[in-house]
Symmetry: D2
Subunit: 354 residues, 4 copies
């Protein structure tokens, strides 16, 4: 990745980003000792175990360390540079795909993660009706916004905590997990009280104060790609979250901004196989925001799964004409149920299941 | 700000673009007479028949005609404005999907059009080997460039007529039709002598001299979307071809240019359902140029079919490391055969077949 | 296709966004009363006085009010819809250009606002040396980052409050005002203690929690355009700030993201005359981030002034090769001084001065 | 430039692209002999003389030559690789700026090239009135389209040869040179009969058949940047023209396509200093197509000159409301005259003159 991108889009390679593999059979005590010695040099150390082997990612800028000496430490099998700007996110650091368990759903596993629900939580009847419909169709996670980022200060801004409570109750009633957006670092504890997954929206993908805060949370983070973010920048934002301690990051492609104005955004499905190659993190697709047009949602949802996505995030509303936001891109419950049926067959082609 | 939109991306509505429906049972003589009267007013008249009813598209700028009087002509059932800037291309003019027959292939029918072959024709052994492989895998049209548009004047420019002859022989030997690119209006008769489909490349999508020339040809035209072309401009270029008399246009999405540089282009699959809604023309996808990366071709090809594309144009080479152009994005024959198997299952979900 | 435009890029017109002009000579008491009556209907009311006439912007969604009745209120001269999605930001609401006074500088006046300084505050000697140099060259505001938004979590993140203190002291020693970036709503009071202008960076242009917080601050806000933000969205973000009560917003163009990769961003100078037409707010240009290349800064700075910008924000460093961030785009002090001389002559062509 | 750009936007470095400097004082005979020996190896050889020294650009793909042996040839001072994909266009090949003389105008010299006139030639009175006005204001080249590339086949396509005759007569009557667009390789001789400069439009920037044909013409070529063309691709298209023998190429920036839709295109003034660094060719700016909005033309024209452009191409019409094309972006004659006055002062800042 070093030779790609432009000066402004490139993240510089830095020293002090190394992958330290320990010998098989190294004792837990020895492993801890090696990690401690690296930390004492000023490096952050992240550990992942694979096939009985301990892998330590040692990252930190401006740290000078005699890596040849480290190679000689007892228990150390090899030391190698992590060759991409995103370290903890990369397949180099962690070759096996990450699976994140939320409720009945194992995101990143062969089972596809189907997340669905309204754009905004609007009231009790609405969320309960939609929860029932999407659960019946096969979804395992319910989406719904309680805090809404709106371009205009005069638009509906969401129901706030009241909305979160309704969403939680409706989801519980139908055995669903909950994903909801958090917009402000100060909101993280509140949203984490009700939601199972904390969503960071496209406009906040490089809101580093927010990334730090969700990086300290104990809930998985669904990180949407920014409208003008390169794949590399998107992975770097995931790296921010993981570097603060939270390794449970789900990436979500939701369309990029291009010159084409017929669709609201240009859903970039190319990003799916690219991310699957570069990173061990699961990646899902939001075709509702990606197209902004109801009758384009199903084709693009099918395409996302055919391209290898780990799941879908789709807006469903029982009465989209009266939705307080994004009605024009919401599926009717029956459309959603039909779509899930089609997805089932396509998933099988890739050895996956709904 | 209401009138803002994109001044440069919008094509003005013009008077004199009407759809004239004749009454069922109007005699052929009467229909010809109505068409002739419209032509005498300075309009170009295009006819299509649907369910026993004659539909006349009457197009022309600056023509003033008393359309209320036309409504009163014997045999005329209705007169309506075609509400989009592209007229003959629109579903308003022709509600049923166009099917274009080439060799064993009916492009736009439930049967998917599988076109495959090398980027450039390089020599006899090469084209015969690849023709055999793609025919065996299920392709019905062979691609191969004899005239190559190259960014650099110092790159391989193609074998010219010699290449066309080789391509024709190899295709014939394996029961395949031929698609090949034409770059210059003066080349059209020559390429049309050997190829079954005339390809207009992305860089020439708004080369209006070339569009006029292929508009006078009697072979179907495969029109690639320009790298910075909106869907509307792409359809307008198809309108150019059809307005010159050639109604056999196949659209081909091959990636647009965005800020993302990881992939060579951003394959815009959103365009598939959009084009299928706006136009009756078949639309296929070229994931080889769309991604520029071999291991991204199969995921995006599957996604294209899942999104509703009518076919695929894919680069296949038996020895891509030594290809004279685009080797890095060419599939190996076995990869192509495996892909066709996957496509088969996905096609069935949409009621289609390979 | 006529209504197409960009569904996602357009902000819907809403009722309840009106400009209420009072008759000349209306008493202060009567004016307050009218404002109060509008507020009681649920509208936010913003007042601006022009040529002895009170202008009330009454904004709020979902408010239904009998505007014909308002037209009949004593003291009301006229009531008109504000025809753009941004209301308080528009020239319709406030025809005269806003001038924001900071230190010796009147931003938006005929006097150009010259802001300069290092990307990051790195230490005492650095900021004092640079402050001296830019003050001598003619700058009136010093820039310098204490909290840095960095794509990589492993890059230098700024000196924090220590940096702000240094910046303040260096600026004071040379009679300069201070502009510095704020990244987190919780940081606003701290940064406002040291800086005269609060900068909201491009990545946070739609960080609505941050916009709300600076909207409550009593310091001017420098709002950078997001890398993928349309001009309309940029103005909408300014509207967020003003709708929370802070009318002192300075817009800053700093380059958008396009397919061109030679320059770090594409500085969009077209935005200057467009913003000057649509809005009363001052707009300045940052050619350092806009190009990312030192020797392109001076040409684009000259061009910005020639296009009508109200000022410049430029990175200057006495030792750019050892800068902790953005050295490659920082001018040497002498280059900056030479540039200011050129700017002086170009400014005169537009009736402005340095 | 080698490490920049993406896989798809990068033009591969090829062997056989060398700059051969001859020793000062080498006889003409010896120089010819060296050129001939290089040509016999299959290379194209382009010569330029600088400060009494002969410089030979030897270009050609796939040519293997023992360059160490060439270094030993009598008369050869040095042999160096031309390190950019564009060779003949680069400042490496030709360090001094190219000046192209057309009529009273020396394009690329300190004197700015002011080209102006209507979008389309519409009739005798129109072109004569406009010619008089722009000549009086200070223009030295008249623009006017006789063959028009139009997105819609139903729009006005230009007057053809009749238009060229009118344009020539009007220009001659006022001492102006003529620039006019050519769209088809077959049209080149006809347009060259009437015009002094052959314009290749943005949509044809990679129409390689057309580039070859104007590369064989004996008139200067004005090459507009394509809407989605990187600066490198633009220079490569100029390389196409020069490699066919015509070294008189004038580059013209006219706006690129981005997500911003307020302006018709995004005029990329960053390209001006970039091109001036990379290439010896003159570069002018077309702010009329670049913005698409009349009142944005003057600010962007001033900005272009401030950024270092060698001239301007501007649409002027005495009655823009009735223009057959592009009226909304045409200046009135008086606006143009006022603009030229402003340009005069800005030009002086850069040591240039009108």
């Amino acid at each position: 990745m070093g030779s790609r991108g432009s000066p402004g889009r490139r993240t510089e390679e830095k020293a002090g980003h190394m992958l330290v593999l320990l010998k098989r059979g190294t004792s837990e005590l020895a492993a801890s000792d090696i990690a401690a010695r690296l930390r004492m040099s000023g490096l952050a150390v992240h550990r992942t175990d694979l096939d009985g082997q301990v892998r330590l990612g040692a990252v930190g800028d401006g740290v000078t360390l005699d890596w040849d000496a480290v190679r000689g430490w007892a228990g150390v099998e090899s030391v190698a540079k992590i060759p991409v700007p995103f370290k903890l996110v990369s397949r180099t650091f962690r070759p096996h795909s990450t699976v994140i368990s939320v409720g009945r759903c194992a995101i990143g596993s062969p089972q596809l993660a189907l997340m669905a629900g309204p754009c905004s939580v609007e009231g009790e009847e609405q969320v309960f009706r939609i929860a029932e419909a999407v659960a019946k169709a096969g979804a395992t996670v319910m989406r719904g916004g309680a805090y809404k980022p709106r371009t205009s200060p005069y638009s509906f801004q969401g129901l706030g905590e009241e909305g979160l409570k309704l969403l939680r109750r409706a989801a519980d009633a139908h055995g669903l997990a909950v994903v909801s957006e958090v917009m402000d670092p100060a909101q993280v504890p509140l949203v984490a009280r009700y939601a199972d997954i904390l969503q960071v929206g496209a406009r906040n993908m490089q809101n580093f104060a927010l990334l730090r805060e969700v990086g300290h949370a104990e809930k998985p983070v669904l990180l949407k790609r920014g409208m003008a973010a390169t794949i590399e920048e998107w992975l770097m934002s995931a790296e921010h979250v993981i570097s603060h301690g939270n390794a449970q990051v789900i990436l979500c492609e939701r369309g990029i901004r291009t010159f084409e104005t017929y669709t609201r955004n240009t859903l970039d499905l190319n990003a799916i196989p690219v991310v699957k190659e570069l990173s061990h993190l699961p990646v899902i697709v939001d075709p509702s925001h990606g197209t902004g047009l109801r009758d384009k949602v199903a084709p693009m949802a099918r395409a996302a799964i055919a391209a290898g996505a780990d799941g879908l995030l789709i807006e469903v509303h029982h009465d989209p004409d009266h939705a307080l936001s994004d009605g024009a891109q919401s599926l009717y419950p029956q459309q959603y149920a039909d779509l899930v049926q089609q997805i089932r067959t396509i998933a099988a082609v890739l050895g996956r299941e709904v």
